[in-house]
Symmetry: C2
Subunit: 244 residues, 2 copies
Amino acid sequence: MGKMICAGLGPGNPDLMSVKSHRAITSAHHIAYFRKAGRPGQARQIVEGMLRADAIEHAMEYPVTTELPVESAEYNAALAGFYDDWAERLATLVKSEDVVVLCEGDPFFYGSFMHLYERLKDRIEIEVIPGITGASGCWTASGVPMAWGDDVTTILAGTLPEEMLAHHMRQADAFVVMKLGRNLPKVRRALHAAGRFEAAWLVERGTMAGERVTKLTEAGDAKPPYFSVVIVHGNGRRPMKATP
Amino acid sequence: MGKMICAGLGPGNPDLMSVKSHRAITSAHHIAYFRKAGRPGQARQIVEGMLRADAIEHAMEYPVTTELPVESAEYNAALAGFYDDWAERLATLVKSEDVVVLCEGDPFFYGSFMHLYERLKDRIEIEVIPGITGASGCWTASGVPMAWGDDVTTILAGTLPEEMLAHHMRQADAFVVMKLGRNLPKVRRALHAAGRFEAAWLVERGTMAGERVTKLTEAGDAKPPYFSVVIVHGNGRRPMKATP
């Protein structure tokens, strides 16, 4: 009987995965990862050059769903079936051998791996290796400390309604907005409504090739790449913060 | 001219630091770290057995401040003087050699290193290597995925006022409370007020020797160790979440 190991990959730069994930990946016989059909896949690209010569790769390709709206019942049924199917296939493999599943960022923090985990956690042994989040990679790339002392830090998805984004942006001392893409104009409006626009940074492809860090006021109107976040740093609620 | 490298150490288990931090630490000639006077120090313990035989260690011992209240002007003056002093000493060293500064967790996320960084960033070259946060280490240890889809995730300090804690606990889908210690009774009251007590977990020494994971309802009244957090996991705002 083998086990499933989910290796958190961190924010994108291969040197930023943990020593433990690196060891699991370089010694794995079976490697599985999610990707869009027809794409190399970000997770697979991060481990390029690290796999054993005899590694067997299992590319878990998301069902083609561009013709279905993301919140439709059909879309969700297709996706649920896809996770069901791969959960069964990997559970069968684990009967005889270990399987390493790659996961960008930190697996338990908005990771697709969680859909396999929920289906299999009571049936097979699963070890999850945490990773540096994409958010950490991006705020480090910004060159400005993120949160001090008693700062309240919030992580938001750009897919949330504008009013709700603005509400949380007002209440947090420091925050990150993920899932930008076509949501960036809405995120800009929410930042304005919350009075935080001037303090916002846009970090594109943080820690990866093509990294770009700009104040949002200077970022222009182009749609950002998938791996982008908006960041507003905290200033510290306590007198302990260094006076610059 | 050398540079300063801040190596994020991750949540405590040495295998969970990044490959890049591991490389910086094992090759460093000068290593600096914070600790309480008379203690080995958590950062130094994590790298035990990893240092070069000829490594020169710089233990930055916090000034003894037990007789001063944490928010007093004297306490903050003592602490500011301590950071000023070490910033100067390390800047002098960096004129001739690289210096690696250790930092538990992720350096830009509530890390003491930020106090050195703010003092030196315009004067010397500084490279910051991110790390897995203690929070990530703890929610991974809990064995339950933390945040799904559009969940709003918030990081709180147990030192915040009770009303403010309860307010943020009501608004977040998923949250972590750090800095527990003597604040745990207050954090419990805030969880009750927010209607989140039944869903709360206590993770002590996550990823480290002596790790303990319990539902808060079953945790008892003992004061938790310094490296402890309270976690409430998100359930997902989107239909994409797997139906368990």
